[in-house]
C-alpha cells in the first residue's frame, strides 16, 4: 500500500476513488474504464503539478519517504553479481553502512552506502541508516580495496546523519568521519557519489568527497536537519519548514551553488512511487558520470577532485 505524505492528500483521495471504482467494476461488470482513465489522468496531472513545485520542507519528507529505494533496493534493481563485503577489521560489522562488489551497467565497481532498512524490524537493525565509526572504517577499507584493484567507487548516500550515541563517540566517530573524508579525497580511482535520499551532515559528506556528486531530484543534502536547525536558530523545532527553506538543501539549490554536479530525474510523484524505475534512472546517471572519468590518470583524478572542492564557495555562487 502506498504511503501518502500530508501534502499528497488530494492525490490520495483521487487514487482511493480509482481503487473503489475498480473494485465495483470487478463485481458488477459495469464498464467504467473511461471513468477510471479520466481519474487516473487527473491524478497524474495533480501529481505532476504537486511535484513540480515541492517546497524544500516537502522535499525533506519525500527524501525520507519509507518507500524510497534504499541501498538494497538499488542493488536488487540494477546491480549484477552483487557480493556484499563486511566488517571494518577493527571492531565490528556495521549494517547501517552497506558495501560490496558488483556490476553497474556492466562495469565492475565497489559500492558503499547507507542502508535505512525497509520495514520496522529492518530499520531498527540498520539503525535507520545512522552509521557508527566502524561503518565509516569499513567504507574506508572498501575504498582502499577498490583502489588496489583499479575499481571505481560508487557511494549511495542516504542517512539522517552519523549515529549520536555514547559508543559511537567513544570509538571516535569524529575521527572515523575525518579519515573517511580524507580517504575519499585521496582515492586514486574514479569516485561517484549519489545522494539518493537524505544527505545528512557529516555522515553524508564522509561518503561524498567524490569526483562527481549526483543527486536525486527530490533528495536533500544539508549540514543539519531542518528540525535541528530550527531548534537551534529558531529555538523551536516547529520552524522546520522555514529552516528547510533557508538551508538551501534541495538538489536544485545545491546545483546552483555549484556543490553537486548533476540532478537525477525521478519517476512521476517521486522515487517512492516506482523504486525500480528510479534505480534505473540512477544507474544510468552513475554510468554517465563514470564514463566522464574514464581514461583520467590517478594523479589527475586526485588533483581535479581536490580542485573541485577547493573551488566551492570561491566561484559560481549566486
Amino acid at each position: 500500500m502506498q504511503t501518502y505524505l500530508d501534502f499528497e492528500k488530494p492525490v490520495a483521495e483521487l487514487e482511493g476513488k480509482i481503487e473503489e471504482l475498480r473494485h465495483v467494476s470487478d463485481g458488477s461488470g459495469v464498464n467504467i474504464v473511461e471513468e477510471v482513465d479520466r481519474l487516473k489522468a487527473k491524478a497524474d496531472r495533480l501529481l505532476r503539478s504537486t511535484y513540480a513545485k515541492l517546497t524544500p520542507w516537502q522535499k525533506a519528507q519525500v527524501a525520507r519517504h519509507p518507500e524510497r529505494p534504499h541501498f538494497s533496493d538499488v542493488v536488487k534493481a540494477v546491480v549484477e553479481d552483487f557480493t556484499p563485503l563486511a566488517g571494518d577489521r577493527r571492531f565490528a560489522e556495521d549494517v547501517a553502512l552497506a558495501g560490496g562488489l558488483g556490476r553497474v551497467g556492466g562495469r565492475a565497481v565497489m559500492l558503499i552506502g547507507h542502508e535505512k532498512g525497509s520495514d520496522t524490524e529492518g530499520r531498527v537493525r540498520h539503525n535507520f541508516g545512522m552509521a557508527r565509526p566502524e561503518g565509516y572504517r569499513k567504507a574506508m577499507r572498501l575504498m582502499r580495496l577498490a583502489e588496489r584493484f583499479g575499481l571505481p567507487v560508487v557511494s549511495l548516500v542516504d542517512t539522517p546523519g552519523a549515529f549520536p550515541g555514547i559508543d559511537a563517540e567513544e570509538r571516535g566517530q569524529a575521527e572515523a568521519i575525518a579519515r573517511c573524508i580524507q580517504t575519499g579525497l585521496s582515492l586514486r580511482v574514479p569516485f561517484v557519489a549519489a545522494i539518493v535520499g537524505e544527505g545528512g551532515s557529516g555522515g553524508a559528506i564522509a561518503l561524498a568527497t567524490a569526483d562527481r556528486v549526483i543527486m536525486f531530484e527530490h533528495a536533500i543534502y544539508s549540514v543539519i536537519s531542518p528540525e535541528g536547525c530550527a531548534s537551534i536558530l529558531w529555538r523551536d523545532g516547529a520552524h522546520a519548514a522555514e529552516a528547510a527553506e533557508a538551508l538551501k538543501l534541495t538538489a536544485q539549490d545545491l546545483q546552483r551553488l555549484g556543490l553537486i554536479d548533476r540532478i537525477v530525474p525521478e519517476p512521476l510523484g517521486g522515487a517512492q512511487r516506482d523504486p525500480a524505475a528510479a534505480a534505473k534512472s540512477l544507474a544510468q546517471a552513475i554510468g554517465a558520470a563514470l564514463a566522464e572519468l574514464d581514461g583520467l590518470a590517478p594523479d589527475d583524478l586526485v588533483a581535479r577532485r581536490g580542485e573541485k572542492f577547493l573551488a566551492m564557495g570561491r566561484t559560481g555562487l549566486g
Binding site: A162, F163, P164, G165, I166, A168, E169, E170, R171, G172, Q173, A174, E175, I177, A178, R179, I181, Q182, G184, L185, S186, S201, G202, A204, I205, A206, T209, Y221, S222, V223, I224, G228, C229, I232, L233, W234, R235, H239, E242, A243, A246, L247, K248, L249, L254, L257, L259, G306, F309, L310, M312, G313, L317, G318
Partner: protein, 302 residues
C-alpha cells in the same frame, strides 16, 4: 589554596556586590564556583587557581602565551562571499556577522599568524569561540587553507588551536563542504613532510572535530575540554539515557585513544616546543631551508 584566596576574597566580593552591583574585579569559576580575583585569573591565563578549570581565552592572548615575543605577522585570509545564502532565522545572518565582527574586531572566527616558537618558524591558526561559536563557514575554511599554504611555502609546522561548536549552519551545505576543504589543507602540510599539530580547547565539536581537528600528527587538548562529534544533548535525547561521567571531556578522549596528550595551559608552549623539536629532528627536516623566515623581523627577545 590560601585562606585568603578561598575565604576572604569571596567575602569581599559579596560585600562589594552589595555595595555597588557588578564590577569586574572578581570572577566566579564556573566549575568550582569559587571566586577569583581578576589579577590572579589574569596571571594564571584564565585557569582557575583553585581547581585548574580552563576558561576560554581570546586568540590574541593565546598567541601571546604560545609564541615568542614580537615578530609575528598576520597571514592574510582571502575575502569570502558574505552571507551567500542570504540566510535569515529570527535574525539575519548578515547582522549576526556584523555584530560578531564589531565585538571581536575580526572578520571571522579564525585568525592566522606566522611567528616563532623558541626561535622556530611556525604558522598558527587560532579559533575564537566568541565569534558565532567558532563555527566553520567559508571564511574559516579559507583561513585553514591560508594557514596550510603559508606553512607549506615557508616550510613551517602548522599548529591549529580549535574552539568551535561545529559547522556554521547559516551557510548551509557550503559550511559542510569546509570539511573536505580543510582536510585538503592539512593534507598539503602533511604531504610537504611538515608537522601538523592540533590543540583542541573547549569546546571542539561537530564538523570541525570530524575533519581537520582529528587529523593531527599530534593531537593535544586542554584539560576538561569538551571534544566530540555529536552534542551531548542530542545524544541524550536519542538514546534516552544519562551520559557517563566525564563524557566527551579531554581526559575521556585520552582514555579512549583519541588524543596523544592532555596539556595544562601553562605547559602548552614548552610541550609544543619539545614535540616540534623531536618531530623535526628526523631525516625529513634536514632538507628544509633554514631561511624561511628571513622576511620577518627577528624575535624581540633574541
Amino acid at each position: 589554596m590560601s585562606w585568603l584566596t578561598n575565604f576572604v576574597r569571596p567575602r569581599i566580593r559579596a560585600l562589594v556586590r552589595k555595595d555597588n552591583g557588578g564590577n569586574n574585579l572578581w570572577h566566579k569559576c564556573p566549575a568550582c564556583e569559587r571566586m577569583i580575583f581578576h589579577r590572579d585569573l589574569d596571571a594564571a591565563n584564565a585557569v582557575c587557581p583553585h581547581c585548574d578549570h580552563h576558561m576560554p581565552i581570546k586568540p590574541a592572548r593565546r598567541l601571546a602565551l604560545l609564541l615568542d615575543e614580537g615578530g609575528w605577522e598576520r597571514v592574510e585570509v582571502p575575502a569570502v562571499p558574505v552571507d551567500p545564502l542570504r540566510f535569515r532565522d529570527r535574525k539575519r545572518y548578515g547582522d549576526r556577522l556584523k555584530e560578531a565582527q564589531t565585538e571581536t574586531e575580526e572578520k571571522d572566527a579564525v585568525i592566522v599568524v606566522q611567528g616563532r616558537l623558541d626561535g622556530r618558524p611556525v604558522v598558527v591558526a587560532a579559533f575564537n569561540f566568541g565569534f558565532i561559536g567558532g563555527s566553520m563557514g567559508i571564511a574559516v575554511g579559507e583561513a585553514i587553507l591560508a594557514a596550510a599554504n603559508r606553512a607549506v611555502t615557508q616550510r613551517a609546522p602548522l599548529i591549529v588551536i580549535t574552539a568551535s561548536g561545529g559547522a556554521r549552519m547559516q551557510e548551509g551545505a557550503l559550511s559542510l563542504m569546509q570539511m573536505p576543504r580543510t582536510t585538503i589543507a592539512v593534507d598539503q602540510v602533511k604531504a610537504a613532510g611538515l608537522p601538523y599539530i592540533v590543540v583542541m580547547t573547549h569546546p571542539t565539536t561537530g564538523g570541525v572535530t570530524a575533519s581537520f581537528a582529528m587529523l593531527g600528527d599530534i593531537a593535544m587538548a586542554e584539560p576538561g575540554a569538551i571534544i566530540g562529534f555529536a552534542g551531548a544533548r542530542v545524544i541524550e535525547e536519542t538514546i534516552g539515557q544519562a551520559l557517563p561521567k566525564g563524557f566527551q571531556r579531554a581526559e575521556y578522549l585520552l582514555d579512549h585513544g583519541m588524543l596523544d596528550m592532555v596539556v595544562h595551559r601553562r605547559d602548552l608552549r614548552d610541550r609544543l616546543i619539545r614535540v616540534l623539536g623531536l618531530l623535526t629532528a628526523g631525516r625529513r627536516a634536514e632538507g628544509a631551508p633554514a631561511t624561511a623566515m628571513a622576511a620577518l623581523p627577528a624575535p624581540a627577545s633574541a
